[in-house]
Protein backbone atom coordinates (compact mmCIF):
# COMPACT_ATOMS: atom_id res chain seq x y z
CA UNK A 1 0.00 0.00 0.00
CA UNK A 2 2.78 2.42 0.97
CA UNK A 3 4.66 1.44 -2.17
CA UNK A 4 1.57 2.03 -4.28
CA UNK A 5 1.04 5.47 -2.79
CA UNK A 6 4.70 6.32 -3.31
CA UNK A 7 4.46 5.25 -6.94
CA UNK A 8 1.31 7.32 -7.34
CA UNK A 9 3.13 10.30 -5.85
CA UNK A 10 6.11 9.84 -8.17
CA UNK A 11 3.99 9.63 -11.32
CA UNK A 12 1.93 12.62 -10.21
CA UNK A 13 5.07 14.64 -9.50
CA UNK A 14 6.35 13.81 -12.96
CA UNK A 15 3.17 15.05 -14.62
CA UNK A 16 3.11 18.18 -12.47
CA UNK A 17 6.68 18.96 -13.53
CA UNK A 18 5.77 18.44 -17.14
CA UNK A 19 2.69 20.67 -16.75
CA UNK A 20 4.79 23.39 -15.18
CA UNK A 21 7.02 23.47 -18.25
CA UNK A 22 4.17 25.43 -19.88
CA UNK A 23 3.12 27.76 -17.10
CA UNK A 24 0.93 30.03 -19.21
CA UNK A 25 -0.95 27.07 -20.61
CA UNK A 26 -1.38 25.70 -17.09
CA UNK A 27 -2.73 29.03 -15.83
CA UNK A 28 -5.15 29.31 -18.74
CA UNK A 29 -6.50 25.78 -18.48
CA UNK A 30 -6.90 26.11 -14.70
CA UNK A 31 -8.88 29.30 -15.17
CA UNK A 32 -10.85 27.51 -17.88
CA UNK A 33 -11.57 24.64 -15.52
CA UNK A 34 -12.69 27.14 -12.90
CA UNK A 35 -14.88 29.00 -15.40
CA UNK A 36 -16.39 25.80 -16.79
CA UNK A 37 -17.70 24.84 -13.39
CA UNK A 38 -18.61 28.43 -12.53
CA UNK A 39 -21.12 28.46 -15.42
CA UNK A 40 -23.05 25.73 -13.56
CA UNK A 41 -23.43 28.03 -10.63
CA UNK A 42 -24.24 31.03 -12.82
CA UNK A 43 -27.12 28.92 -14.17
CA UNK A 44 -28.38 28.38 -10.63
CA UNK A 45 -28.04 32.12 -9.93
CA UNK A 46 -30.04 32.86 -13.10
CA UNK A 47 -32.73 30.44 -11.91
CA UNK A 48 -32.87 32.24 -8.58
CA UNK A 49 -33.26 35.58 -10.35
CA UNK A 50 -36.77 34.31 -11.18
CA UNK A 51 -37.66 32.38 -8.03
CA UNK A 52 -36.99 32.68 -4.29
CA UNK A 53 -36.91 28.96 -3.64
CA UNK A 54 -36.38 25.80 -5.64
CA UNK A 55 -38.21 22.79 -4.26
CA UNK A 56 -38.46 24.66 -0.96
CA UNK A 57 -34.72 25.36 -0.77
CA UNK A 58 -33.28 28.88 -0.65
CA UNK A 59 -30.25 29.98 -2.68
CA UNK A 60 -27.77 29.59 0.22
CA UNK A 61 -29.08 26.07 0.86
CA UNK A 62 -28.70 25.11 -2.80
CA UNK A 63 -25.24 26.71 -2.69
CA UNK A 64 -24.41 24.47 0.28
CA UNK A 65 -25.41 21.38 -1.72
CA UNK A 66 -23.53 22.70 -4.74
CA UNK A 67 -20.38 23.48 -2.78
CA UNK A 68 -20.23 20.15 -0.99
CA UNK A 69 -20.70 18.00 -4.08
CA UNK A 70 -18.41 20.13 -6.26
CA UNK A 71 -15.60 19.92 -3.74
CA UNK A 72 -16.02 16.16 -3.32
CA UNK A 73 -16.30 15.55 -7.04
CA UNK A 74 -13.41 17.92 -7.73
CA UNK A 75 -11.17 15.92 -5.39
CA UNK A 76 -12.16 12.62 -6.98
CA UNK A 77 -11.71 14.10 -10.45
CA UNK A 78 -8.24 15.39 -9.53
CA UNK A 79 -7.09 12.06 -8.07
CA UNK A 80 -8.88 9.55 -10.31
CA UNK A 81 -10.24 11.58 -13.25
CA UNK A 82 -7.84 9.97 -15.73
CA UNK A 83 -9.51 6.58 -15.26
CA UNK A 84 -11.88 7.15 -18.14
CA UNK A 85 -8.95 6.96 -20.56
CA UNK A 86 -8.64 3.26 -19.85
CA UNK A 87 -10.85 2.24 -22.78
CA UNK A 88 -8.49 4.01 -25.17
CA UNK A 89 -5.50 2.22 -23.67
CA UNK A 90 -7.23 -1.14 -24.03
CA UNK A 91 -8.08 -0.34 -27.65
CA UNK A 92 -4.64 0.80 -28.74
CA UNK A 93 -2.81 -1.80 -26.66
CA UNK A 94 -0.78 0.63 -24.51
CA UNK A 95 -2.21 -1.01 -21.39
CA UNK A 96 0.26 -3.85 -21.94
CA UNK A 97 3.14 -1.51 -21.08
CA UNK A 98 1.53 -0.82 -17.72
CA UNK A 99 1.10 -4.52 -17.00
CA UNK A 100 4.81 -5.28 -17.10
CA UNK A 101 5.85 -2.46 -14.76
CA UNK A 102 6.32 -3.31 -11.08
CA UNK A 103 3.62 -0.87 -9.97
CA UNK A 104 -0.12 -1.62 -9.55
CA UNK A 105 -1.97 -0.99 -12.80
CA UNK A 106 -4.68 0.96 -10.98
CA UNK A 107 -2.08 3.40 -9.67
CA UNK A 108 -0.57 3.89 -13.12
CA UNK A 109 -3.92 4.46 -14.82
CA UNK A 110 -5.15 6.82 -12.10
CA UNK A 111 -2.01 8.93 -12.11
CA UNK A 112 -1.67 8.92 -15.89
CA UNK A 113 -1.69 12.49 -17.24
CA UNK A 114 -2.43 13.85 -13.79
CA UNK A 115 -4.14 17.19 -14.45
CA UNK A 116 -3.36 19.79 -11.82
CA UNK A 117 -5.71 22.21 -13.61
CA UNK A 118 -8.58 20.32 -11.99
CA UNK A 119 -7.79 22.36 -8.87
CA UNK A 120 -9.97 24.95 -10.64
CA UNK A 121 -13.10 22.93 -9.92
CA UNK A 122 -12.20 22.36 -6.28
CA UNK A 123 -11.48 26.08 -5.79
CA UNK A 124 -14.81 27.01 -7.31
CA UNK A 125 -16.67 24.48 -5.15
CA UNK A 126 -14.94 25.75 -2.00
CA UNK A 127 -15.80 29.37 -2.86
CA UNK A 128 -19.49 28.53 -3.28
CA UNK A 129 -19.40 26.49 -0.07
CA UNK A 130 -17.84 29.42 1.77
CA UNK A 131 -20.59 31.71 0.48
CA UNK A 132 -23.19 29.20 1.71
CA UNK A 133 -21.61 28.88 5.16
CA UNK A 134 -21.39 32.65 5.56
CA UNK A 135 -25.02 33.29 4.57
CA UNK A 136 -26.67 30.26 6.18
CA UNK A 137 -27.78 30.39 9.78
CA UNK A 138 -26.88 26.90 11.01
CA UNK A 139 -26.97 25.91 14.67
CA UNK A 140 -23.62 24.18 14.76
CA UNK A 141 -23.02 21.11 16.87
CA UNK A 142 -19.95 18.89 17.00
CA UNK A 143 -21.74 16.21 14.93
CA UNK A 144 -22.71 18.71 12.24
CA UNK A 145 -19.19 20.13 12.05
CA UNK A 146 -17.72 16.64 11.78
CA UNK A 147 -20.19 15.78 9.02
CA UNK A 148 -19.26 18.89 7.08
CA UNK A 149 -15.57 18.06 7.37
CA UNK A 150 -16.14 14.46 6.29
CA UNK A 151 -18.40 15.26 3.34
CA UNK A 152 -15.65 16.15 0.82
CA UNK A 153 -13.57 13.13 1.89
CA UNK A 154 -16.33 10.50 1.90
CA UNK A 155 -17.89 12.09 -1.17
CA UNK A 156 -14.59 11.99 -3.03
CA UNK A 157 -14.19 8.31 -2.04
CA UNK A 158 -17.68 7.50 -3.39
CA UNK A 159 -17.05 9.35 -6.65
CA UNK A 160 -13.61 7.74 -6.93
CA UNK A 161 -15.27 4.31 -6.60
CA UNK A 162 -17.55 5.21 -9.48
CA UNK A 163 -14.52 6.25 -11.55
CA UNK A 164 -12.80 2.93 -10.80
CA UNK A 165 -15.90 0.80 -11.37
CA UNK A 166 -16.56 2.67 -14.63
CA UNK A 167 -13.01 2.03 -15.75
CA UNK A 168 -13.39 -1.67 -14.88
CA UNK A 169 -16.47 -1.74 -17.10
CA UNK A 170 -14.34 -0.42 -19.96
CA UNK A 171 -12.38 -3.67 -19.96
CA UNK A 172 -15.55 -5.20 -21.36
CA UNK A 173 -16.86 -2.27 -23.41
CA UNK A 174 -14.01 -0.04 -24.54
CA UNK A 175 -16.18 2.63 -26.11
CA UNK A 176 -18.52 3.00 -23.15
CA UNK A 177 -16.57 5.78 -21.40
CA UNK A 178 -19.63 8.00 -21.60
CA UNK A 179 -21.70 5.69 -19.42
CA UNK A 180 -19.52 6.53 -16.47
CA UNK A 181 -19.87 10.25 -17.21
CA UNK A 182 -23.57 9.97 -16.49
CA UNK A 183 -22.76 8.75 -12.98
CA UNK A 184 -19.80 11.03 -12.33
CA UNK A 185 -20.62 14.32 -14.06
CA UNK A 186 -24.33 13.49 -14.09
CA UNK A 187 -24.25 12.54 -10.41
CA UNK A 188 -22.45 15.78 -9.60
CA UNK A 189 -25.12 17.78 -11.44
CA UNK A 190 -27.89 15.84 -9.71
CA UNK A 191 -26.45 16.46 -6.24
CA UNK A 192 -26.21 20.22 -6.86
CA UNK A 193 -29.99 20.42 -6.62
CA UNK A 194 -32.23 19.64 -3.62
CA UNK A 195 -33.50 16.04 -3.45
CA UNK A 196 -37.03 17.34 -2.94
CA UNK A 197 -37.40 18.26 -6.63
CA UNK A 198 -36.66 14.79 -7.99
CA UNK A 199 -38.98 11.80 -8.31
CA UNK A 200 -38.85 9.67 -5.16
CA UNK A 201 -37.81 6.59 -7.13
CA UNK A 202 -34.84 8.46 -8.52
CA UNK A 203 -33.83 9.53 -5.00
CA UNK A 204 -34.23 5.93 -3.79
CA UNK A 205 -32.11 4.77 -6.72
CA UNK A 206 -29.20 7.06 -5.84
CA UNK A 207 -29.54 6.12 -2.17
CA UNK A 208 -29.74 2.34 -2.35
CA UNK A 209 -28.45 1.33 -5.80
CA UNK A 210 -25.69 3.79 -6.70
CA UNK A 211 -25.26 5.44 -3.31
CA UNK A 212 -24.40 8.93 -4.57
CA UNK A 213 -26.91 10.43 -2.12
CA UNK A 214 -24.35 9.83 0.63
CA UNK A 215 -21.91 12.24 -1.03
CA UNK A 216 -23.87 15.24 0.22
CA UNK A 217 -27.67 14.84 0.20
CA UNK A 218 -28.06 12.63 3.24
CA UNK A 219 -25.54 14.42 5.51
CA UNK A 220 -26.59 17.88 4.22
CA UNK A 221 -30.23 17.31 5.09
CA UNK A 222 -29.09 16.66 8.63
CA UNK A 223 -26.81 19.70 8.77
CA UNK A 224 -29.47 21.95 7.26
CA UNK A 225 -32.18 20.45 9.48
CA UNK A 226 -34.28 19.42 6.50
CA UNK A 227 -36.90 16.72 6.09
CA UNK A 228 -35.77 13.75 4.03
CA UNK A 229 -38.04 13.35 0.98
CA UNK A 230 -38.02 9.55 1.17
CA UNK A 231 -38.30 9.45 4.95
CA UNK A 232 -34.91 8.02 5.86
CA UNK A 233 -34.25 7.88 9.61
CA UNK A 234 -31.80 10.39 11.10
CA UNK A 235 -29.02 7.93 11.76
CA UNK A 236 -28.55 7.50 8.00
CA UNK A 237 -26.71 10.82 8.14
CA UNK A 238 -23.90 9.09 10.04
CA UNK A 239 -23.41 6.48 7.34
CA UNK A 240 -21.27 8.25 4.68
CA UNK A 241 -17.94 6.86 5.99
CA UNK A 242 -19.38 3.33 6.02
CA UNK A 243 -20.90 3.73 2.56
CA UNK A 244 -17.65 5.20 1.22
CA UNK A 245 -15.63 2.27 2.57
CA UNK A 246 -18.14 -0.19 1.09
CA UNK A 247 -18.01 1.52 -2.29
CA UNK A 248 -14.22 1.46 -2.35
CA UNK A 249 -14.29 -2.26 -1.54
CA UNK A 250 -16.78 -3.05 -4.30
CA UNK A 251 -14.89 -0.91 -6.78
CA UNK A 252 -11.68 -2.77 -5.94
CA UNK A 253 -13.42 -6.10 -6.59
CA UNK A 254 -14.83 -4.80 -9.89
CA UNK A 255 -11.38 -3.58 -10.91
CA UNK A 256 -9.83 -6.98 -10.17
CA UNK A 257 -12.50 -8.78 -12.12
CA UNK A 258 -12.01 -6.40 -15.03
CA UNK A 259 -8.23 -6.61 -15.04
CA UNK A 260 -8.30 -10.40 -14.77
CA UNK A 261 -10.56 -10.69 -17.80
CA UNK A 262 -8.30 -8.43 -19.87
CA UNK A 263 -7.06 -9.93 -23.10
CA UNK A 264 -4.48 -7.91 -24.95
CA UNK A 265 -5.28 -6.85 -28.49
CA UNK A 266 -1.82 -8.19 -29.30
CA UNK A 267 0.65 -6.02 -31.08
Amino acid sequence: MADALRAYGLIVAMWVRSTMAYRASFALTTIGNFAATAFDFVTILLMFSHVDALGGYSLPEVAFLYGTTSTAFGLADLLMGSMDRLGRRVRDGTLDTLLVRPVPVLVQVAADRFALRRLGRITQGLLVLTYALVTLDIEWTVTKAAMLALMPLCGAAIFASVFVAGAAFQFFAQDAAEVQSSFTYGGNTLLQYPPSIFAKDLVRGVTFVVPLAFVNWVPSLYVLGREDPIGLPDWFALLPPVVAAGCLGLAALAWRAGLRSYRSTGN
Binding site: G32, A36, V42, L46, A53, E178, S182, L190, L202
Partner: protein
Protein backbone atom coordinates in the same frame (compact mmCIF):
# COMPACT_ATOMS: atom_id res chain seq x y z
CA UNK B 1 -20.62 18.74 -55.76
CA UNK B 2 -20.54 14.94 -56.01
CA UNK B 3 -17.24 14.94 -54.18
CA UNK B 4 -18.72 16.78 -51.19
CA UNK B 5 -21.69 14.42 -51.09
CA UNK B 6 -19.25 11.53 -50.86
CA UNK B 7 -17.33 13.28 -48.07
CA UNK B 8 -20.59 13.91 -46.21
CA UNK B 9 -21.60 10.26 -46.56
CA UNK B 10 -18.15 9.32 -45.27
CA UNK B 11 -18.64 11.56 -42.24
CA UNK B 12 -21.95 9.85 -41.53
CA UNK B 13 -20.50 6.35 -41.84
CA UNK B 14 -17.47 7.18 -39.77
CA UNK B 15 -19.53 8.05 -36.72
CA UNK B 16 -22.02 5.25 -37.35
CA UNK B 17 -19.19 2.74 -36.89
CA UNK B 18 -19.01 3.15 -33.13
CA UNK B 19 -22.25 1.54 -31.98
CA UNK B 20 -21.30 0.97 -28.34
CA UNK B 21 -20.14 4.58 -28.05
CA UNK B 22 -23.42 5.74 -29.54
CA UNK B 23 -25.45 3.63 -27.11
CA UNK B 24 -23.34 4.94 -24.21
CA UNK B 25 -23.90 8.49 -25.41
CA UNK B 26 -27.65 7.98 -25.66
CA UNK B 27 -27.63 6.67 -22.10
CA UNK B 28 -25.77 9.76 -20.88
CA UNK B 29 -28.05 12.15 -22.77
CA UNK B 30 -31.06 10.45 -21.22
CA UNK B 31 -29.66 10.63 -17.68
CA UNK B 32 -28.88 14.33 -18.07
CA UNK B 33 -32.30 14.86 -19.64
CA UNK B 34 -33.99 13.40 -16.57
CA UNK B 35 -31.91 15.48 -14.14
CA UNK B 36 -32.56 18.73 -16.02
CA UNK B 37 -36.24 17.90 -16.52
CA UNK B 38 -36.80 17.68 -12.76
CA UNK B 39 -34.98 20.96 -12.11
CA UNK B 40 -37.14 22.65 -14.77
CA UNK B 41 -40.31 21.17 -13.26
CA UNK B 42 -39.31 22.69 -9.91
CA UNK B 43 -38.62 26.01 -11.60
CA UNK B 44 -41.87 26.09 -13.57
CA UNK B 45 -43.85 24.95 -10.52
CA UNK B 46 -42.73 28.15 -8.81
CA UNK B 47 -43.21 30.35 -11.84
CA UNK B 48 -45.62 28.97 -14.46
CA UNK B 49 -45.20 30.70 -17.84
CA UNK B 50 -41.60 31.62 -17.03
CA UNK B 51 -39.90 32.95 -20.17
CA UNK B 52 -43.17 32.53 -22.08
CA UNK B 53 -43.03 28.72 -21.88
CA UNK B 54 -45.54 26.56 -20.07
CA UNK B 55 -44.20 23.54 -18.20
CA UNK B 56 -44.56 21.03 -21.02
CA UNK B 57 -42.83 23.43 -23.43
CA UNK B 58 -40.01 23.84 -20.93
CA UNK B 59 -39.66 20.06 -20.67
CA UNK B 60 -39.68 19.78 -24.45
CA UNK B 61 -36.86 22.32 -24.46
CA UNK B 62 -34.82 20.10 -22.12
CA UNK B 63 -35.12 17.04 -24.34
CA UNK B 64 -34.48 19.04 -27.51
CA UNK B 65 -31.28 20.22 -25.86
CA UNK B 66 -30.20 16.63 -25.21
CA UNK B 67 -31.17 15.61 -28.74
CA UNK B 68 -29.24 18.48 -30.34
CA UNK B 69 -26.23 18.57 -28.00
CA UNK B 70 -24.14 16.37 -30.29
CA UNK B 71 -25.84 17.33 -33.55
CA UNK B 72 -25.00 21.01 -33.16
CA UNK B 73 -21.76 20.12 -31.35
CA UNK B 74 -22.51 22.53 -28.52
CA UNK B 75 -19.68 21.05 -26.47
CA UNK B 76 -17.40 20.99 -29.49
CA UNK B 77 -16.18 17.71 -30.81
CA UNK B 78 -16.18 16.51 -34.33
CA UNK B 79 -13.75 17.78 -36.87
CA UNK B 80 -11.88 20.57 -35.10
CA UNK B 81 -9.60 18.33 -33.00
CA UNK B 82 -8.52 16.63 -36.17
CA UNK B 83 -8.04 19.81 -38.17
CA UNK B 84 -5.98 21.36 -35.36
CA UNK B 85 -3.84 18.23 -35.21
CA UNK B 86 -3.30 18.38 -38.98
CA UNK B 87 -2.29 22.03 -38.73
CA UNK B 88 0.08 21.28 -35.87
CA UNK B 89 1.77 18.36 -37.59
CA UNK B 90 1.85 20.02 -40.99
CA UNK B 91 -0.42 17.48 -42.66
CA UNK B 92 -2.55 20.46 -43.59
CA UNK B 93 -0.20 20.99 -46.53
CA UNK B 94 -1.58 17.80 -48.10
CA UNK B 95 -5.15 19.07 -47.63
CA UNK B 96 -4.25 22.32 -49.33
CA UNK B 97 -3.06 20.76 -52.56
CA UNK B 98 -6.06 18.49 -52.83
CA UNK B 99 -8.40 19.49 -55.65
CA UNK B 100 -11.10 20.37 -53.13
CA UNK B 101 -11.93 23.47 -51.14
CA UNK B 102 -10.64 23.20 -47.56
CA UNK B 103 -13.68 24.78 -45.89
CA UNK B 104 -16.28 22.95 -47.99
CA UNK B 105 -14.47 19.65 -47.47
CA UNK B 106 -14.66 19.89 -43.68
CA UNK B 107 -18.17 21.35 -43.82
CA UNK B 108 -19.38 18.37 -45.85
CA UNK B 109 -17.81 15.94 -43.39
CA UNK B 110 -19.32 17.78 -40.45
CA UNK B 111 -22.79 17.79 -42.04
CA UNK B 112 -22.53 14.02 -42.41
CA UNK B 113 -21.53 13.73 -38.77
CA UNK B 114 -24.41 15.96 -37.69
CA UNK B 115 -26.90 13.90 -39.69
CA UNK B 116 -25.72 10.77 -37.92
CA UNK B 117 -25.83 12.40 -34.50
CA UNK B 118 -29.35 13.67 -35.14
CA UNK B 119 -30.52 10.15 -35.94
CA UNK B 120 -28.28 8.17 -33.60
CA UNK B 121 -28.06 10.46 -30.59
CA UNK B 122 -31.21 12.56 -31.05
CA UNK B 123 -34.18 10.30 -31.60
CA UNK B 124 -33.89 7.83 -28.73
CA UNK B 125 -33.49 10.39 -25.90
CA UNK B 126 -36.37 12.41 -27.38
CA UNK B 127 -38.62 9.32 -27.49
CA UNK B 128 -37.69 8.33 -23.93
CA UNK B 129 -38.29 11.89 -22.78
CA UNK B 130 -41.70 11.92 -24.48
CA UNK B 131 -42.61 8.64 -22.78
CA UNK B 132 -41.60 9.84 -19.32
CA UNK B 133 -42.89 13.41 -19.49
CA UNK B 134 -45.72 15.33 -21.09
CA UNK B 135 -43.96 17.05 -24.00
CA UNK B 136 -45.34 19.67 -26.39
CA UNK B 137 -44.64 17.89 -29.69
CA UNK B 138 -45.70 19.72 -32.86
CA UNK B 139 -48.86 18.43 -34.51
CA UNK B 140 -48.28 19.84 -37.97
CA UNK B 141 -45.71 18.02 -40.15
CA UNK B 142 -44.77 21.45 -41.50
CA UNK B 143 -43.46 22.44 -38.09
CA UNK B 144 -41.25 19.35 -38.07
CA UNK B 145 -39.88 20.30 -41.49
CA UNK B 146 -39.35 23.91 -40.38
CA UNK B 147 -37.51 22.57 -37.33
CA UNK B 148 -35.20 20.37 -39.40
CA UNK B 149 -34.30 23.34 -41.63
CA UNK B 150 -33.50 25.37 -38.54
CA UNK B 151 -31.34 22.56 -37.14
CA UNK B 152 -29.44 22.34 -40.43
CA UNK B 153 -28.75 26.09 -40.31
CA UNK B 154 -27.68 25.67 -36.68
CA UNK B 155 -25.18 22.99 -37.67
CA UNK B 156 -23.69 25.28 -40.32
CA UNK B 157 -23.33 28.13 -37.80
CA UNK B 158 -21.75 25.71 -35.33
CA UNK B 159 -19.36 24.49 -38.01
CA UNK B 160 -18.42 28.01 -39.03
CA UNK B 161 -17.53 28.93 -35.44
CA UNK B 162 -15.48 25.78 -34.91
CA UNK B 163 -13.70 26.26 -38.23
CA UNK B 164 -12.56 29.69 -37.07
CA UNK B 165 -11.41 28.19 -33.79
CA UNK B 166 -9.50 25.43 -35.55
CA UNK B 167 -7.74 27.91 -37.85
CA UNK B 168 -6.41 29.75 -34.81
CA UNK B 169 -4.00 26.82 -34.54
CA UNK B 170 -2.04 28.31 -37.44
CA UNK B 171 -0.91 31.00 -35.00
CA UNK B 172 -1.21 29.28 -31.61
CA UNK B 173 -0.13 25.74 -32.58
CA UNK B 174 -1.93 24.39 -29.52
CA UNK B 175 -5.68 24.76 -29.80
CA UNK B 176 -6.63 23.29 -26.39
CA UNK B 177 -7.21 26.59 -24.62
CA UNK B 178 -9.21 28.21 -27.41
CA UNK B 179 -11.26 25.05 -27.93
CA UNK B 180 -12.08 24.89 -24.24
CA UNK B 181 -13.20 28.52 -24.27
CA UNK B 182 -15.21 27.83 -27.40
CA UNK B 183 -17.22 24.98 -25.92
CA UNK B 184 -17.73 26.84 -22.66
CA UNK B 185 -19.16 29.85 -24.41
CA UNK B 186 -21.10 27.61 -26.77
CA UNK B 187 -22.67 25.65 -23.93
CA UNK B 188 -23.75 28.75 -22.06
CA UNK B 189 -24.88 30.98 -24.94
CA UNK B 190 -26.62 28.27 -26.94
CA UNK B 191 -29.15 28.00 -24.13
CA UNK B 192 -28.07 24.47 -23.23
CA UNK B 193 -27.82 25.24 -19.51
CA UNK B 194 -30.89 27.48 -19.34
CA UNK B 195 -33.18 28.81 -22.10
CA UNK B 196 -31.92 32.21 -23.26
CA UNK B 197 -35.33 33.82 -22.72
CA UNK B 198 -34.72 33.34 -18.99
CA UNK B 199 -31.54 35.43 -19.15
CA UNK B 200 -32.31 38.80 -17.60
CA UNK B 201 -32.03 42.24 -19.22
CA UNK B 202 -28.99 43.14 -21.28
CA UNK B 203 -27.39 39.71 -20.84
CA UNK B 204 -30.48 38.18 -22.41
CA UNK B 205 -30.49 40.63 -25.34
CA UNK B 206 -26.82 40.00 -26.02
CA UNK B 207 -27.16 36.23 -25.65
CA UNK B 208 -30.05 36.09 -28.10
CA UNK B 209 -28.14 38.16 -30.67
CA UNK B 210 -24.97 36.03 -30.55
CA UNK B 211 -24.46 33.26 -33.14
CA UNK B 212 -24.70 30.47 -30.53
CA UNK B 213 -28.43 31.05 -30.07
CA UNK B 214 -28.79 29.48 -33.55
CA UNK B 215 -27.61 26.17 -32.12
CA UNK B 216 -30.45 25.44 -29.73
CA UNK B 217 -32.64 28.40 -28.80
CA UNK B 218 -33.82 29.19 -32.33
CA UNK B 219 -34.46 25.57 -33.44
CA UNK B 220 -36.23 24.91 -30.15
CA UNK B 221 -38.48 27.93 -30.60
CA UNK B 222 -39.29 26.80 -34.14
CA UNK B 223 -40.14 23.34 -32.74
CA UNK B 224 -42.33 24.85 -30.04
CA UNK B 225 -44.21 26.88 -32.65
CA UNK B 226 -43.06 30.29 -31.38
CA UNK B 227 -41.85 31.29 -34.83
CA UNK B 228 -44.48 31.10 -37.57
CA UNK B 229 -45.04 33.05 -40.80
CA UNK B 230 -42.77 36.08 -41.13
CA UNK B 231 -41.33 35.38 -37.73
CA UNK B 232 -40.04 32.07 -39.04
CA UNK B 233 -38.47 33.82 -42.03
CA UNK B 234 -36.81 36.24 -39.63
CA UNK B 235 -35.47 33.34 -37.53
CA UNK B 236 -34.04 31.69 -40.65
CA UNK B 237 -32.56 35.01 -41.77
CA UNK B 238 -30.89 35.36 -38.37
CA UNK B 239 -29.34 31.90 -38.56
CA UNK B 240 -28.50 32.17 -42.26
CA UNK B 241 -27.00 35.61 -41.73
CA UNK B 242 -24.67 34.38 -39.00
CA UNK B 243 -23.80 31.32 -41.08
CA UNK B 244 -22.79 33.50 -44.04
CA UNK B 245 -20.87 36.04 -41.98
CA UNK B 246 -18.96 33.36 -40.07
CA UNK B 247 -18.26 31.24 -43.14
CA UNK B 248 -16.96 34.35 -44.94
CA UNK B 249 -14.79 35.17 -41.93
CA UNK B 250 -13.48 31.61 -41.97
CA UNK B 251 -12.65 31.95 -45.65
CA UNK B 252 -10.83 35.24 -45.09
CA UNK B 253 -8.88 33.79 -42.18
CA UNK B 254 -8.10 30.72 -44.23
CA UNK B 255 -6.53 32.76 -47.01
CA UNK B 256 -4.41 34.69 -44.50
CA UNK B 257 -3.49 31.47 -42.71
CA UNK B 258 -2.46 29.50 -45.77
CA UNK B 259 0.06 32.20 -46.60
CA UNK B 260 1.79 31.21 -43.37
CA UNK B 261 2.19 27.60 -44.37
CA UNK B 262 5.76 26.69 -45.11
CA UNK B 263 6.14 23.19 -46.46
CA UNK B 264 9.36 21.62 -45.30
CA UNK B 265 10.81 19.26 -47.79
CA UNK B 266 11.13 15.64 -46.88
Amino acid sequence: MRLYAVVAAGGFRRYATYRVATAAGVFTNTVFGFILAYTYIALWDERPQLGGYDQSQALTYVWLGQALLMTCAMMGGGFEDELIERIRTGDIAIDLYRPADLQLWWLAGDLGRAAFHLLGRGIVPMVLGALAFDLALPVSPLTWVAFLVSVALGVVVSFAVRFLVALSAFWLMDGTGVMQMCWLVGLFFSGMLLPLNLFPGLLGDVARALPWSSLLQVPADVFLGTHTGWDLVRAYAFQGGWALVLLAAGRALQSVATRRVVVQGG
